[in-house]
């Protein structure tokens, strides 16, 4: 391992160094995905960041396309608010002010529906490979907890975010 590192050029050493820092930051924040190494070995094989097939607008997770109407579904947004109150509001404000995590104002403008819904349901994998999620981690330094949202929870939350962003 030493020999390999020594043979690298300075620039790639820097890159490795940066990678080590990121990895140790992730590590310092606790068990990366709550799974043992044995179980995550298969996941590591999948290419994430840097893989040309990775769609940074969609993120990684079960949601590929999300049907979103031009109008707000008020009932869904209300259910989303209930989930927000229990599972999200400790760390996120509905304004643009950062608390533990970023404020939610404008979140639906900055990100697509699948990206948001993948991030809030498949949190660990997204933080491990998604460039935008990783950039947020560098700012917030607390890994967003996986709050084990159901698919409906995620969709309702997205609707609440839309309402928060002024969709009527």
């Amino acid at each position: 391992m030493h020999a390999i590192i020594k043979s690298q050029k300075i620039t790639s050493m820097k890159r490795i160094f940066a990678a080590i820092i990121i990895m140790s930051t992730l590590y310092a924040c606790g068990n990366q995905n709550g799974k043992p190494a044995a179980a995550s070995a298969t996941e590591e094989k999948k290419e994430g960041n840097g893989n040309p097939s990775y769609d940074p607008n969609r993120g990684e997770g079960k949601f590929k396309t999300v049907e979103v109407s031009g109008k707000l579904d008020a009932a869904m947004a209300d259910n989303g608010f209930k989930v927000f109150s229990v599972k999200c509001s400790s760390c996120h404000k509905t304004t643009d002010e950062k608390l533990v995590g970023p404020g939610w104002k404008g979140v639906t403008v900055r990100n697509t529906a699948p990206w948001i819904m993948n991030f809030i349901t498949n949190t660990d994998e997204m933080i491990n490979k998604d460039p935008k999620a990783q950039a947020l981690l560098e700012i917030c330094l607390v890994r967003m907890p996986n709050q084990n949202l159901s698919d409906d929870d995620a969709r309702n939350l997205y609707e609440f975010m839309r309402k928060n962003d002024g969709v009527k």
Partner: protein
């Protein structure tokens, strides 16, 4: 071993004095008695042992191993073959590190008819079974001192229930189960006058006044809830261990007993006089039918039934006042005594259910009884007499055969999947493997030192595994680096897959292990709960989200509804608390992910801290003693900003007019401006 004996003899024969000749003889005698006492701590291990116990980082063990904690009162969980300690489950002893017995929710679990009991002596464990095979749902644990039986839920590894036993004193032959976990039994080690009789009698009236009680505890198939179905009042003796029959013998239960002399003093001598004591055979199916038919007398007693509700995360203790007792003398064909040499300890039934092995700790042989012969002896009335009104079957009529010269001090026997039995020899410090059919000794291996119980995963079930055996040794001496006078007890793992047993690993354990259980990891692993769903949390003081946090005063009681999430507590500034208040911190961990507990500790708390699992609510009671600013914080390193997870309580003097207020993330303008003046 014989080398060493030879060496010593040579050594002594060099000095031909009479004194040395005597010394030599006594040395030889000693060595003869301790024929298998190991001589060197390291010489019994072969080269591939390390590989056999090695579980690579990130890989799982093959077996869960549940080990009784003895005087620690708790149960430890190890992985096998690595011997890695995975968890200590608090059961009968308070555990300040996670608040067990200190939090308001768990205090009722340790309630008894004597009040709150913070400790016990936990000896034996039995995993729940279905059709004689380990099903991985629950594990039962006995408390020896203040007689109780506990049930631990193996989806949460949390003690779910503790049931006290009346008419008992020293709940030793417990908590062994029937083939489908219909019942857990609890036999008293110390006979005493029944609870409703005048106990103020001379101790030497043992024979007239003392009784031995066996409790049959029913287990609800669906939720595991335990109740005392009935008790059998038996002659006053010391019930030691027990095991249920299996297959054809599944309707019977077998209990070893000693002190059939009914001695009440210097038992070491006075309870070791008779050549044979007994194994008591109980037709429990018949007893259950009689109890259902309303037989027996209703006796007024007092005992606690404590249950933990996973939805409210709270335990409730109920004092019960009646139990059904059947005096076995009044019900013929219910109970029989089988003579068993000599002060039998282990009472173990082979996987087929045909052979019952009694391990007489003072006997020089191991008797094996036949279930078929016992049945025939009962049918033929092949009795040698009766003991306190109970028929005693003729020894030869029940005996299948004897294992001759197995070693010294046989204690416990477990079985493998190839028809072999393994018995620990306390005095000669070895495990002896013998064949159940022909009763021939096949192998013996030294242990370090003096093993009590041993464990083969599934070794007391219908389907034992044949891979590993663990001996739990009572003496440690030189096995580990010295740690002063008190040493950890040593466990030793043997590979038993071949003809010869092979020592693979030594590892220290917590407390003093007695009996243990093991099961393939797959039976339990996938059902393990990762967090509690916050939606299902029905705790009366839950905070589902920070919006619901608050501080409520009711007279001098103050309830703090608090949430914990990475990385802050809400509220984290609390004012208006007064000296003399009783403050209850009801902390809800609103994380919904695996392995993210939060802690809660407050300066000067005279009880303990809390460890709150994701989705759980726990309560710490705190009585502030003087006006001060008192910090509180999270004790479980949870994130990069864990050190920031803290807060303050302002305590004012009694009668102070500082208003009650609470907040997070708000610097009160008033305070700010006050400080700027």
């Amino acid at each position: 071993m014989s080398y060493q004996k030879l060496n010593i003899q040579i050594l002594y024969s060099m000095k031909k004095t009479r004194y040395n000749a005597i010394a030599m003889a006594s040395f030889a005698l000693l060595l003869g008695v301790q024929a298998c006492k190991p001589k060197n701590a390291g010489n019994a291990v072969s080269a591939d042992a390390a590989a056999k116990a090695y579980v690579a980082p990130g890989k799982y063990d093959e077996y869960y191993n549940f080990v009784s904690g003895g005087f620690s009162g708790q149960m430890s969980v190890y992985g096998l073959p690595s011997g890695r300690l995975l968890k200590v489950v608090p059961i009968f002893s308070v555990n300040p590190e996670n608040g067990w017995g200190y939090s308001e929710e768990t205090k009722p679990m340790l309630n008894t008819s004597h009040g709150f009991v913070p400790w016990d002596d936990q000896h034996h464990l039995d995993l729940s079974q279905t059709n004689g095979e380990v099903d991985g749902r629950w594990i039962f644990a006995n408390a020896n001192n203040t007689p109780r039986v506990a049930r631990v839920d193996l989806s949460t590894f949390h003690t779910a229930e503790i049931l006290e036993l009346p008419n008992s004193a020293g709940n030793h032959s417990s908590p062994f189960i029937t083939e489908n976990t219909e019942y857990v039994v609890a036999g008293t080690r110390f006979s005493v006058p029944p609870d409703d009789k005048n106990g103020d009698v001379p101790i030497n009236t043992y024979k007239q006044n003392f009784k031995g009680t066996i409790s049959f505890i029913s287990v609800d198939k669906n939720n595991g809830n335990m109740d005392i179905a009935f008790q059998l009042q038996c002659p006053g003796v010391d019930f030691d261990l027990s095991h249920a029959g299996k297959g054809k013998s599944s309707g019977w239960f077998f209990f070893s007993c000693y002190n059939t002399e009914q001695a009440n003093t210097l038992l070491e001598v006075n309870a070791s006089k008779r050549d044979k004591d007994f194994i008591m055979a109980v037709n429990w199916k018949k007893a259950a039918e009689l109890a259902k038919a309303g037989k027996g007398r209703k006796q007024a007693v007092k005992y606690a039934s404590n249950r933990y509700d996973e939805k409210t995360h709270t335990a409730t203790s109920t004092i019960k006042t009646e139990v059904t007792v059947m005096d076995v003398k009044d019900f013929p064909e219910l109970v029989y005594f089988i003579p068993c040499p000599k002060s039998p300890h282990g009472c173990d039934v082979d996987p087929s259910g045909e052979y019952i092995v009694g391990s007489g700790k003072l006997a020089a042989l191991i008797p094996v009884f036949s279930f078929d012969k016992i049945q025939k002896a009962i049918a033929d009335k092949a009795f040698e007499g009766n003991y306190d009104g109970i028929p005693v079957i003729k020894y030869e009529a029940a005996l299948y055969g004897e294992v001759k010269k197995p070693g010294l001090g046989p204690l416990h026997t477990e079985f493998d999947d190839k028809g072999n039995a393994y018995t620990t020899m306390f005095v000669s410090s070895e495990v002896v493997k013998w064949n159940v059919k022909d009763l021939k000794v096949l192998d013996r291996v030294a242990t370090y030192y003096s093993p009590g119980h041993l464990m083969i995963p599934g070794g007391d079930s219908k389907k034992p595994s044949g891979k590993y055996l663990v001996a739990y040794n009572k003496i440690t001496k030189d096995r580990f680096l010295p740690t002063g006078p008190e040493l950890a007890q040593s466990a030793q793992l043997f590979d038993i897959s071949g003809d010869k047993m092979q020592l693979v690993l030594d590892y220290p354990t917590i407390g003093e292990p007695h009996y243990a259980q093991g099961v393939a990891a797959s039976v339990i692993r996938d059902r393990s709960v990762k967090f509690f769903k916050i939606e299902n949390n029905n705790h009366p003081f839950v905070s589902k989200g920070e919006g619901t946090t608050k501080v409520v005063r009711e007279g001098n009681k103050v309830h703090v509804y608090m949430t914990a999430i990475r990385s802050h507590l809400t509220p984290d500034n609390i004012e208006g608390i007064r000296v003399g208040d009783e403050v209850y911190f009801h902390v809800t961990n609103i994380e919904q992910d695996w392995d993210v507990p939060h802690g809660f500790a407050i300066k000067g708390a005279t009880n303990a801290e809390l460890l709150i699992m994701p989705g759980e609510t726990s309560t710490l009671k705190w009585i502030p003693e003087k006006a001060a600013i008192v910090p509180f914080y999270c004790t479980d390193f949870c994130s990069a900003l864990h050190q920031e997870m803290s807060g303050y309580v302002r305590v004012s003097p009694a009668g102070s007019s500082v208003p009650l207020s609470f907040s997070t993330g708000t610097n009160l303008p008033k305070s700010d401006s006050a400080s700027k003046k």
